[in-house]
């Protein structure tokens, strides 16, 4: 139900990544943005949308190469990209492919942590 979830949820809970992350190969897998769990982080790979919708999302930071965190799932869901939060309809999020970050990575706490070395390269 709503209550327990709401009371215990931390801003970035460590969610179960087994479906998205194949640990043995160490290779990161791609999911649709609406399949992300709250607290998970991913790097945007592709937007399969009409030009105007895609441009709108890209301009707001939901652009290939940017890292996003899912803050709240649902429709509309809330994602965090760069330093802003964006409310996003699920129909759009379904068309965005995201490459999951390492399951143990948390949002950058300081500058050193934010350096791109941990980021999967295309």
């Amino acid at each position: 139900m709503f209550w327990p979830n709401f009371l215990i949820s931390s801003p970035h809970p460590v969610a179960d990544q087994s479906a998205e992350f194949s640990a043995d190969s160490g290779k990161l897998s791609c999911v649709r943005m609406d399949q992300m769990q709250p607290g998970q982080c991913g790097v945007i790979r592709e937007l399969d949308l009409r030009q105007d919708d895609a441009d709108q999302l890209k301009a707001m930071g939901i652009c290939p190469g940017r890292r996003v965190w899912l803050v709240r799932s649902g429709d509309p869901m809330i994602v965090k990209v760069m330093r802003s939060r964006v409310g996003l309809a699920a129909v759009l999020a379904k068309q965005v492919t995201v490459e999951m970050c390492s399951p143990h990575r948390q949002p950058p706490l300081n500058k050193q942590d934010a350096a791109p070395q941990g980021e999967p390269q295309p």
Binding site: F2, D52, D53, K58, I78, G87
Partner: protein, 679 residues
């Protein structure tokens, strides 16, 4: 501190030539409007960009060396050609929009708390090659969350001067004015930095390349970044405000507070305005000789203007509170919460603010629906907006509730809640039907930035209020005035002779006066005047229309007097009250509510039946909730949709809806009440 800096600079700054024009451009929520308001104060107004419905604010700002014209372009995230708004903004910056002056300089406002995202627009604006000054805004908030930016390094990366400002506190605004003056007085053409021009040239995804550049600039210029989540408070508040269940509860609570305070506060100025116009009307009535001119001035013009002005306090307060809510960041959350519900009936999240405004008046709501970019979404919003209970309906609800349940406040409150709910339910239902019929398609999916929560800006709210109030008076006021004069004409002409009964009464009064009984004479004279007024209204165009539609409205339980009331209420819904007052011998004196109610309660038609039986009153209430009796709204809807087709559809569907719902209510209520009386 700023003031001192300004005074010193005033001596050194070179004078500016006349007629200089500066454009303000930046992301939404970057404090651009706050900066604009700080620079221009009350010397600003909203205007459309020539040939478009895109609104921009225009004002005059005093810089160190003189005054310049400042244009506040709408907030945008990028300058891409795929969006018409952004294309026009780009053309405006380049001076290619016809009828719009080419800006001599551009002030680019960047949000210091989110510099990386803001740099996308920055890269596109700087590339245009216009003389640019960067205002690194919201520095106070950035500092508080531990963000520190090297403005000199940023200035080198962007190839233009960068001034750290806080429009909220006024910090750095003097320095910005000085930098802008210097930019305006030097002629050198700005050079686009090499790294930036490279990223424009590269192939592949241009936005991606720009963000990569932004990331590098951010890494080089950001001296310090916050430890931990810099917006912990926002995250915590959002867990409640955007929660599927708690979010809705908070939303309802905030909306309740909003409307309670609007109605509570606005009541005082509204009454004062009513009183002032009644006074003015009485005064003009005294000093002018009797005749058509006097009647036109008092009953047509003064009452018409008064009718417009009465709504002004509510509209101003609504926009005042909406601006406060927008500034705090809550309005964006409300859009997320309502989008979940509204999308199911085919309304976009963006229609939430216009539909909220419709609870004050449909006219500012229809004007506010301009913010909805998608045409289908905008049309659905405009078509359903008048179904929501506007303040002009409230006096009518009050009258009918008092007739239905005299001196029972709880039941009266329930009837009010019922009327509001009926309006909202009808709007959602109609949106759903429109979605399946005339306006097929799904609403534009929601994409909205949820800015950090911050304390609201009173200055912004006051300026928004003044601006919206002015817009309402100039755009809607004139229409309302013309319509009320027109309806005055239909209620006055053709003129008819006083009825024989009234003539006899006047003669009797004269005799009483002569025999030394002035009190009785006055009473009789008053009755004769009331009779004459009722008779002339009954014989006027409006009265004849009322008689003509009687067969049509009889199944709803209305007699011809109510018919005349409905016809006259097309100027503004509350006019039905003064019309009925004429028929029930109370005259046009609005202060006499108790007497009017008393006389309505006992009024009977020619066959001796009660005119305002409970079933009729209930049916009339439902009719007023749903009917489109507001010509000014139709005129504004025509202006905003660009054709008479949509207002016509609106009028037809709302009338049909109101008629059938009122009929069903009357039949059902008559049946229930009759069987109840039988038991």
């Amino acid at each position: 501190m700023t003031r001192v800096a300004l005074d010193v600079l005033q001596e050194s700054a070179p004078p500016l030539s006349d007629g200089l024009n500066v454009a303000l451009v930046g992301n939404p929520n970057c404090g651009k409007t706050t900066l604009f308001n700080r620079l221009t104060g009350t010397r600003a107004h909203t205007a459309n960009i020539a040939g478009t419905t895109i609104e921009q604010r225009v004002g005059r700002a005093t810089l160190t060396g003189g005054a310049v014209d400042l244009v506040d372009l709408p907030g945008m995230y990028s300058l891409l050609n795929t969006s018409p708004d952004q294309r026009i903004a780009r053309q405006t910056l380049l001076g290619e929009t016809p009828g719009q002056r080419k800006p001599n300089a551009v002030v680019l406002v960047l949000d210091a708390t989110n510099i990386q995202r803001n740099l996308l627009l920055a890269s596109q604006v700087i590339e245009l090659g216009r003389p640019t000054v960067v205002a690194l805004n919201m520095c106070d908030l950035a500092q508080r969350s531990g963000i520190e930016i090297d403005t000199e390094a940023l200035s080198a990366e962007l190839g233009c001067p960068v001034v750290a400002t806080s429009a909220r506190t006024g910090e750095g605004v003097g320095e910005l004015c000085e930098a802008l003056t210097r930019r305006l007085t030097t002629d050198e053409t700005p050079e686009t930095p090499q790294a930036l021009s490279e990223c424009a040239r590269c192939g592949g995804c241009p936005i991606r390349a720009r963000f990569d550049w932004a990331e590098r600039v951010d890494a080089r210029c950001c001296i310090n970044e916050p430890v931990g989540d810099h917006d912990r408070l926002t995250a915590a508040a959002d867990r409640v405000m955007t929660h599927p269940l708690l979010g809705v509860v908070t939303f309802i609570g905030i909306m309740f507070l909003l409307f309670a305070s609007i109605f509570w506060v606005a009541d005082y100025p509204s009454r004062a305005i009513e009183w002032a116009f009644a006074l003015a009307g009485g005064w003009v009535w005294e000093i002018l000789p009797p005749g058509d001119m006097r009647a036109l001035l008092v009953d047509g013009v003064i009452r018409g203007v008064g009718g417009v002005m009465v709504f002004l306090p509510q509209i101003c307060l609504l926009f005042f509170f909406l601006s406060l809510l927008e500034d705090t960041g809550y309005l964006a959350r409300a859009s997320v919460v309502t989008d979940r519900l509204m999308r199911r009936v085919g309304l976009p999240g963006a229609s939430f603010v216009p539909l909220l405004s419709a609870h004050a008046c449909a006219i500012p709501a229809i004007m506010a629906s301009r913010v909805i970019a998608n045409r289908r979404d905008r049309l659905v919003t405009i078509l359903v907006a008048p179904l929501l209970t506007c303040s002009a309906r409230l006096p009518v609800y009050t009258m009918l509730t008092a007739l239905l349940v005299p001196s029972q406040p709880f039941k009266a409150a329930m009837i009010f809640v019922g009327a509001y709910t009926l309006g909202i339910a009808a709007a959602l239902l109609v949106a759903l039907v429109l979605n399946r019929s005339v306006l097929r398609g799904s609403p534009k999916p929601l994409v909205i930035e949820l800015p950090c929560y911050k304390p609201p800006n009173l200055r912004n709210a006051v300026l928004t209020m003044i601006d919206r109030g002015r817009l309402f008076l100039t755009k809607a006021g004139t229409v309302i005035l013309l319509v009320s004069i027109g309806l005055w004409v239909t209620a006055t002409y053709p003129k008819s002779a006083p009825p024989p009964q009234a003539v006899t009464m006047q003669q009797q009064a004269a005799r009483l006066q002569a025999s030394g009984q002035p009190k009785q004479a006055d009473l009789l004279r008053e009755q004769a005047q009331a009779l004459t007024a009722a008779n002339s209204l009954s014989n006027s165009i409006a009265g004849r229309l009322g008689h003509a539609i009687e067969p049509a409205i009889e199944p709803l339980g209305y007699d011809w007097r109510i018919g005349v009331g409905i016809v006259s209420s097309f100027a503004a819904r509350e006019v039905i009250i003064s019309t009925l007052a004429i028929f029930h011998g109370v005259g046009t004196d609005n202060s006499n509510d108790a007497r009017l109610l008393e006389s309505m309660r006992t009024a009977t038609d020619e066959n001796g039946n009660l005119i305002y039986s409970p079933a009729t009153s209930l049916s009339l209430l439902v009719f007023f909730v749903l009917a489109m009796q507001c010509l000014p709204t139709s005129v504004v809807a025509r202006r905003e949709t660009g054709s008479w087709k949509w207002p016509a559809l609106q009028f037809v569907y709302m009338s049909a809806l109101a008629y059938s719902a009122a009929w069903a209510t009357f039949q059902l209520a008559s049946y229930v009440l009759a069987s109840g009386a039988g038991v």
